[in-house]
Symmetry: C2
């Protein structure tokens, strides 16, 4: 046995599936909406309203690299990206199940680090880890599924934007994409954007705030603002017009854009994914405190404009790493 | 464009993620408990009772081989194995989300075959496909998550078996393990056991039947009868005694056991996994119609006996394919 507190020098293959599950789930309890947690054939949750459910998969060398991100980063990112899809319905995320496939050669320490990340981000997001699965695979593949409670409100879909409304946003844009741009060229700074790629910072709780404020459409920005607003424009049958003067471009984004081939920092904001900001359509007098108005909903063909025109600038859009 | 009805000659990498999702989800509707299906940030389900949720991952060359199983087989198996965990709580499965990671070189035809299998098995199981994710990876990794409705009943856990009760079973045992034994030696017959490995046949609906009949403990047999009853014995703090004369050994199992090194067909029944039979503890006068009594619940140390003694026979237990 490894002494308590010492890192486990073994691999996943040496420890086996059941011991691994024990390591990941030890000490997890049940409280609040969780009737039954980890350990039986299913977990059981009690909801006050309808269930919102979404699933999200991250693959090593596609969505993250183990030399760019720590095990804890990967665990945290998996939770953040998934929970964000439930926030984007205006629901209250309550539970999460996580599947981890990893090579038998993976150090146990990597897996416990991953589990620490999952649990830390679950706590930050206010959800409970209630189940999962572990198995061997050629590379690390993580699938998280979030369970969220609509608690008496209807879901806020992408289909409800109406001409005359404003677009408003919570969270931030273009940080993770700037991080990938830096890391992809072998640099590790500016640190703020690198960290943003490793662990997104979704505006937890703001999805529910938006629903309660009367948002009529809502989505999270996972593929890039223009791409995700494109889904809203098509689902709602409206034109969306983004006002770039409302987008706050941070110093590290300017620095990255300047350092990398005369890039336009606006490209990170408009086309960079993976920061999981929330963007929604509101009546102008109902934008929640802390949200920023970034554009307007117009009658017209389903399309997204930038300052009234088509965006022809550069794209930092999320293409994963693979060609 | 490929003519309608003709196989698509392209690969996943050539088609791209969004087109792939369209191919998988085209024509999926919403009905019954599904308020919102595929296509927004989350799906939305309406439940009558508590939510049971479970997730299950299958990895190529660990849980299935593409030269042993068709794409449709893999899709069907992923659904069956996952839904079975919700049946094992006595819940009514209503929705499913599926994540598919696959190499960019995977033929589109394989993916549409997989999707056909998912949809066919969902229909058989009475659940609706409400969401998912697709991404690239080095090998095929499938994660399914089932959403099930306890509809006013408490979950039937593994912890409720009481001395004096009987053990009863629905479904079948040892077929898939016999199939793996055959396939692993390069044979393709008896066909019935090979097919059982490719696509399990869980006793859909019988979990709810058991709950309504008053089952006090319930699980599905995914790792082997003795292994899964071991979980029940430990959770309930009882001894479980399996009566082998009650186990019906089918002709193909006898044939495989005879052909492969003088094997004992009982080993397939007792230690073979992956058929997803349901086994539960019932008062003797409350065993549902169609269920077979296969043993007794006794006071004593948490352990599983076979005809009153420890099982020392061979094991066909589910070890996956990898060492």
């Amino acid at each position: 046995m490894t002494p308590p507190g010492a890192p486990d020098p073994r691999t996943v293959g040496e420890v086996g599936e059941f011991a691994l599950i024990d390591a990941i789930t030890s000490g997890l309890g049940t409280s609040g909406p969780v009737v039954l947690g980890v350990g039986d054939d299913s977990a059981v949750l009690r909801l006050a309203g309808d269930l919102a459910v979404s699933t999200d998969t991250m693959v090593e060398d596609v969505h993250f690299r183990r030399d760019w991100s720590s095990a804890e980063d990967v665990g945290r990112k998996a939770v953040a990206a998934c929970v964000s899809d439930a926030e984007a319905m205006g629901a209250v995320p309550i539970g999460l199940v996580v599947s981890l496939a990893a090579p038998a050669s993976t150090p146990v320490e990597w897996v416990t680090g991953f589990a620490d990340g999952v649990r830390a981000e679950c706590e930050k997001a206010g959800v409970q880890l209630v189940g999962g699965d572990t198995t061997s695979a050629a590379q690390v593949v993580v699938t998280a599924t979030v369970l969220a409670d609509l608690g008496g409100l209807p879901p806020v879909t992408r289909a409800g934007a109406r001409p005359g409304q404003v677009l408003a946003m919570a969270g931030r844009l273009g940080w993770a994409a700037a991080g990938v741009a830096v890391l992809g060229r072998g640099f590790r700074s500016p640190r703020a954007v690198v960290v943003a790629h490793r662990v997104p910072e979704p505006p937890y709780g703001e999805g529910r705030v938006a629903a309660e404020a009367g948002a009529s459409a809502l989505t999270d920005v996972s593929d890039g603002l223009l791409a995700d607003l494109g889904h809203v424009a098509r689902a709602s049958g409206v034109t969306l017009d983004v006002t770039t003067s409302a987008l706050e471009i941070a110093e590290p984004q300017k620095a990255v854009a300047a350092a990398i081939g005369g890039g336009d920092p606006l490209a990170f904001q408009l086309t960079g994914g993976d920061d999981h900001a929330l963007v929604g359509a509101f009546d102008a007098d109902r934008v929640p405190s802390g949200w920023t108005v970034i554009g307007r909903v117009l009658a017209g063909d389903p399309q997204v404009l930038v300052d009234g025109a088509e965006w022809t600038g550069a794209s930092a859009g999320w293409q994963h790493f693979a060609p």
